[in-house]
């Protein structure tokens, strides 16, 4: 009986019976919390709201995917360029790259969105909200990608660089043929994690009324007041993307672990 609930040995597999029991317990636990909120709020569910407003949900979800895909690509470019700039012989580039990374990583994303939206956007006359959304998200994510790539570059042993130098490879060729192919493989798990963050963080763009998934859901909520259904569906929508990515990331980690 005790074995169903307690595991002592770290390496010991959890038995099937114990897994089932505990999954059921977690389910029950969540069920009671839901039940509590429903009773307390005297809430009556109407899930038809999801299908009635499916167009809005689909538009929002597609927009989130689109913004995130484009931003992922741009942030990868920013990350690669910036990671190289951090090692540049030109001191200005180094400092600029460092400053950018520290600034982005040191401030909340919400503050960056507001700053960008109220100051940069009008000053540069950027009117298209989607372009603004791409830019903010890419700049934000780019700083983290920079750090991931920098870590990857630094994980390549110095002896390889010396060997490459002695063979006559140029600095650019060393990056192109020797460092990046190895770095790319090593950082894939971390990068997958970053994609997951990017998708979740994109929900903050709703604050400047970019019509992505969160914004669209809030619209439905404002029209119907079916808060429970809409917000649960919103969370579910993000989980549908992030859980596979998280599994992929773990799989990549294991794969790399065995290869090295």
């Amino acid at each position: 009986m005790k074995n169903l609930f307690i595991t002592r040995d770290d390496n010991k597999r959890i038995t099937k019976a114990a897994t089932l029991t505990n999954v059921a317990l977690v389910g029950l636990f969540i069920f009671f919390i839901v039940l509590f909120t429903v009773i307390k709020l005297n809430y009556s569910f109407d899930f038809s709201v999801i299908s009635r407003y499916q167009k809005k949900f689909i538009t929002g979800f597609t927009m989130t995917l689109a913004i995130c895909s484009v931003s992922l690509f741009i942030s990868l470019v920013i990350g690669i360029v910036n990671a190289i700039a951090l090692k540049s012989n030109i001191i200005f580039f180094r400092f600029l790259a460092r400053f950018y990374v520290e600034l982005i990583r040191g401030t909340p994303f919400l503050v960056q969105i507001l700053f960008f939206y109220f100051i940069i956007t009008p000053a540069f006359g950027l009117e298209d909200k989607f372009i603004v959304a791409f830019l903010i998200l890419s700049l934000f994510s780019g700083a983290y990608v920079t750090e991931i790539i920098r870590g990857g570059i630094e994980s390549i042993p110095q002896s390889q660089i010396i060997t490459a130098n002695s063979l006559g490879f140029s600095k650019w060729q060393i990056y192109r043929y020797i460092i990046f192919p190895q770095v790319f493989k090593r950082i894939l798990p971390a990068l997958a994690g970053q994609i997951s963050s990017l998708i979740k963080d994109s929900s903050l763009l709703s604050i400047i009324a970019v019509s992505e998934f969160t914004m669209k859901t809030l619209e439905v909520n404002a029209l119907t007041f079916q808060t429970y259904e809409t917000l649960s569906f919103l969370a579910l929508g993000y989980l549908v993307i992030t859980i596979p990515i998280s599994l992929l990331s773990k799989w990549l980690e294991r794969k790399y672990f065995y290869e090295s």
Binding site: S159, T163, S166, L167, G168, F169, I178, Q182
Partner: protein
């Protein structure tokens, strides 16, 4: 090989690795550099390889003076084959890719030319079965032999070895050393830093003992091993098994 080294100084931040180093030889096919760790041997080899700039002084190899200029050294490096202690091969490339990539990207070979050169070399050294293996699937000795083949591929007249066997188990060492002896027989000039005294005795034409950034003693292999003059060298040799 001819070497003329005049008053070479290599100063690192706190340490002087080579201190007014002067040494010269004429018509020596294989030179072996020995000495205690931290004595300046590897620094000297890195200067020969064009991987570092001397702080001052003059180095001349086979009539070619090494110029203290980063861009000049980049060009110079392309034509000097170097084999390091370990991690010579790039882990993401197969044996063949390790050999052909420098030929294609640095020396402008076509892919076919490079592959042909590579296969000839691997065949010559009995390494053909490893052509498509990545370094992780090769023993340390096989990796070093492929690294030597890569150094040979660029047709350099001079090969530099920086303790090529010191990271290997003894049973793997012999294969690598046999390959180097074979190269010497075939007329490739060899300059090698090593702790393998047996090998030095067998393959070296000339030996120089370096300590504290200076050439303490040098001579033909026979003079050097059988009639050491300085007490430091006698001391050093007494600690090494031959």
């Amino acid at each position: 090989m001819n070497l003329n080294i005049n008053n070479v100084v290599k100063q690192y931040e706190v340490q002087r690795a080579l201190d007014d180093f002067t040494f010269s030889i004429q018509n020596v096919p294989s030179l072996v550099i020995v000495g205690p760790s931290g004595g300046g041997k590897s620094t000297l080899l890195r200067l020969f390889a064009g991987l570092e700039l001397a702080t001052s002084g003059e180095i001349c190899i086979n009539g070619q003076q090494i110029i203290n200029d980063v861009n000049w050294l980049k060009e110079y490096r392309k034509n000097v084959g170097v084999v390091f202690q370990s991690y010579n091969l790039f882990p993401h490339w197969t044996a063949m890719e390790n050999i052909i990539m420098p030929l294609i990207k640095v020396h402008g070979y076509s892919v076919e030319q490079a592959k042909e050169t590579c296969l000839q070399l691997l065949k010559r050294f009995d390494l053909l079965e490893h052509v498509d293996k990545i370094p992780a699937k090769l023993s340390g000795g096989q990796q070093q032999r492929i690294a030597i083949a890569r150094a040979l591929a660029i047709n350099s007249e001079l090969l530099l070895f920086d303790e090529p066997t010191s990271a290997l188990d003894p049973q793997l060492t012999s294969g690598v050393l046999e390959m180097i002896v074979e190269l010497k027989k075939e007329g490739t000039d060899i300059l090698m830093v090593t702790h393998e005294m047996t090998f030095a005795k067998k393959a070296a034409d000339y030996v120089v003992y370096i300590d504290q950034g200076k050439a303490i003693e040098h001579g033909t292999a026979d003079e050097f091993f059988n009639h050491p003059k300085s007490s430091v060298l006698r001391e050093f040799l007494s600690h090494t098994t031959i």
